[in-house]
Symmetry: C2
Subunit: 307 residues, 2 copies
């Protein structure tokens, strides 16, 4: 079976949307990536860190999905990374209310022996030096995908450039792509990002879908039009989990197959936003995913003849 | 040959974008719709009104594309409708600097005899009572498509409801769909619009593409990712011209063929924005349109197998 190595936060989130608010619930980039990728029959592992306050139930939830968490350190006496945010009425923007790094502040990732030669690596949003440190522990994988965000552009630019130079693909949202390149046009932004290293660039536009760029080729996957988006938290990470999970499962990293991976990412993300936090992803079945794939087909495929 | 009747403004525009500004140039909804639809081998006519100040060259430009302008009245001593606007830096929003209704204020549309039994009718953005008056002069066409905007919602709500109730399809932009229905979710908005009359609803999202709704079916066409959008003026009307032109040309108003029509609309609109005003549409060739259709295919089509 193909091996997918996931690096990222496993955390507590407290979320407020126009539809309600939660106490501390299970969150974190690696959690969403792992749950999403677990829809595929692959071997995956999460390298992360939590505090002693982190419920065993949450860890079991990942384990039960065949995710290796031997590389998820539990720091004695430590407190788990906590993020709290409030979404605006349109759900397209949010304010961060609180960020407590806790055990994340001193995180030294250790990749388990079994995953030192993974097929695919998904470096979830984290300090670029932590992402780099993971890469240094590995045999060169088939594909390394990096996710990042504006915080690291603002605060650790040089380190970010170092890790970007070493990866094959970058997933990033539209505003962040613009910030990274100082280009408004996403076509130009993607080209500039490719010059920094990644041969593949995925620009996530939230409810407006996702674009995949490679050389002069472009592919677009829409977001599924939903009656209601309940909570966008984790949608981007769920997308990344679907993208890399599908690539690991198929073992095919051609551009043609990456199109499919982008569709799978969008598919899984469309479920994530239907309930608070990871709730929807926990109950999601393969039948639902396959059913929705048909909806994506109906939404995008056409038979046209030249006039 | 199929007949397409187009109603809308033929006008002067003065446009300012971050890339430059124009003096009074050829503009108007019916102009863009007509130029776009003229890519197809159909009979089309434009019902509109201009003043005596309107250059014969501009009228010839439409005539030369086999557009019947016998229903475009030239008002002696009258002045042509004039609109002037300035786009913001992101080109997604604009300020109207000046609107001079002129001959449009007393416009009484008269449909030429030859076009009283058209196959398809495209009612471009105009006073709803003018749109209604056109419908009253016609044998029931196969398909009537209406375009409108927020101005008519703000000022002539009841009249707008009357014409909406009589049409088969509505094309409208996302913000206006939300204003019309008081629903943020475009899925809900489309459903509410269908309850007002139109069985088909096209929601235009500018650079984020267009959604086609019919019963519980949804189709999505992306906008082509462009390096630079030069001037968005007329893109929505060009979309409408491609949509209705293709439907008239094929004579097939099934949902499956409407998907193709939406792709053609997006295709033609992607050219419109590349230069100021109608400039790009005037020089556009069938070869370019067919070439870009391949780009739309590459952008959206995928071959996926269930996992």
């Amino acid at each position: 079976m193909s091996k997918l190595l996931i690096v990222g936060t496993v955390a507590f989130d407290a979320i407020e949307t126009p539809f309600g608010k939660t106490d501390k619930i299970l969150g974190g980039a690696a959690t969403y990536i792992g749950l999403s990728a677990s829809q595929f029959n692959i071997d995956s592992a999460v390298v992360s860190v939590v505090g002693e306050d982190f419920p065993q139930d949450y860890l079991d939830l990942l384990k039960d999905r065949n995710i290796d968490i031997s590389g998820t350190e539990i720091v004695k006496g430590g407190k788990t990374f906590f993020w709290s945010g409030k979404y605006h009425n349109d759900l397209n923007s949010r304010d961060t209310l609180d960020t407590q790094l806790n055990v994340l502040a001193d995180f030294q990732p250790v990749v388990p022996e079994d995953f030192k030669s993974p097929d695919i690596v998904m470096l979830g949003n984290l300090h670029p030096l932590v992402q780099l440190s993971v890469l240094e522990q590995l045999e060169r994988p088939k594909l390394v995908v990096l996710d990042t965000m504006n915080f690291w552009m603002d605060n650790t630019w040089d380190d970010l450039m170092k890790v970007i130079a070493k990866v094959d693909a970058l997933t990033i949202n539209d505003e962040e792509a613009r910030q990274l390149t100082n280009e408004y046009s996403l076509v130009k932004a993607a080209r500039k990002i490719a010059e920094l290293g990644p041969k593949y660039v995925v620009i996530k536009k939230g409810e407006h879908g996702a674009l995949l760029f490679h050389d002069e080729q472009i592919f677009f996957a829409p977001a599924l039009p939903l009656e209601e988006v309940f909570d966008p938290t984790g949608a981007g990470d769920t997308f990344a989990g679907g993208f890399t999970g599908y690539l690991a499962y198929t073992g095919d990293i051609s551009f043609g197959n990456m199109k499919n991976a982008v569709i799978y990412g969008s598919n899984l993300a469309s479920f994530c936003v239907e309930k608070f936090g990871t709730e929807r992803m926990q109950e999601l079945t393969k039948e639902e995913v396959n059913q929705r794939l048909q909806e994506f087909r109906a939404l995008t495929q056409f038979e046209i003849n030249l006039t």
